[in-house]
């Protein structure tokens, strides 16, 4: 169903993880990038193990006494996002943006959360033939704010990033759900 390529290029995974600026995407708006297949089981397993590893580090940093603050959830979230971005192997802009500056993202997200423009009421002429109409442009701008690191992208690039980002988020949700279930199931096992 998904038209993303099922090729996982694992050769230059190490280089990509450093968010290497030299390896840009090809100029020329190639529609079919060799993106990560977010739907495959393998990817999810890779992500889950990486996430478990990272979370274990987080546990070690906060010593056994539980932080018990609202920041714990945020830490987990940031860790999950970073692991997600590293799984993306640096091929997409949003993954590079996440890896580059996790702090900025949070502040900006908090600030922009209130700006919800429900822009309706403008009559749409034939949507795609003219220039990107103001309606579509506004929505595109909102979308650009949601996807990290995509504020200044052109419209088609933004759409590409958005498709990849959505698949990645879905996988993140699946993996974290599975992990949570494991923990709730495993916790009772360990205490018995």
């Amino acid at each position: 169903m998904s038209s993303l390529q099922p090729n996982v290029d694992s050769t230059n995974s190490e280089a990509m993880q450093r968010s290497n600026p030299k390896k840009r995407r090809k100029i020329g708006h190639s529609n079919s990038l060799s993106l990560v297949p977010w739907r495959s089981e393998t990817q999810q397993r890779i992500y889950s193990s990486k996430l478990a590893e990272a979370l274990r580090h987080v546990i070690h940093r906060n010593p056994p006494s539980p932080p018990a603050k609202s920041s714990a959830g945020r830490e987990v979230r940031e860790t999950a996002d970073r692991v997600l971005a590293s799984t993306a192997k640096g091929r997409t802009r949003w993954s590079r943006a996440i890896l580059a500056s996790p702090l900025n993202r949070w502040k900006l997200r908090r600030m922009h959360k209130k700006v919800h423009k429900a822009s309706t009421g403008l009559p749409k002429k034939s949507p795609e033939t003219r220039r990107r109409l103001p309606v579509v442009q506004k929505k595109a701008r909102v979308l650009g704010r949601l996807v990290p690191g995509c504020r200044k992208l052109t419209f088609p690039n933004l759409l590409e990033e958005a498709t990849d980002y959505i698949s990645a988020l879905e996988m993140q949700v699946r993996a974290m759900t599975a992990l949570t279930e494991l923990l709730t199931g495993g916790g009772s096992l360990a205490s018995a």
């Binding site: 998904s2 979370l55 056994p64 539980p66 988020l169 494991l182």
Partner: protein, 90 residues
């Protein structure tokens, strides 16, 4: 759809509308809501709107999940052992 051929608009954008339409349809396939309706009838603005909503809801889910995970990790110290064990068993 011959009336919506790639009309190059106003010189500054070298991007064809067909390309955009292709991307929008690809995006539409991912969205759980619009997937069931026929592709002809959905405008790109609606697709974008649904995309934003969907991304926001995914963000919320991840937030909730990470809250739960953080609680789980904090309460059970043996969580690590459980994690390792379960991952090995997978």
């Amino acid at each position: 759809m011959s009336s919506r051929r790639s009309r190059q608009t106003s010189g500054s954008s070298n991007i064809s509308d067909d390309q955009i339409k292709d991307l929008v349809s690809k995006l539409q396939q991912l969205l759980p809501e619009i997937r069931h309706t026929r592709t002809d009838k959905v405008s790109s603005a609606k697709v974008l709107q649904e995309t934003c909503n969907y991304i926001r809801s995914l963000h919320r889910e991840v937030d909730d999940l990470s809250e739960r995970l953080s609680e789980l990790l904090a309460t059970t110290d043996t969580a690590q052992a459980a994690l390792i064990r379960n991952l090995l068993l997978q």
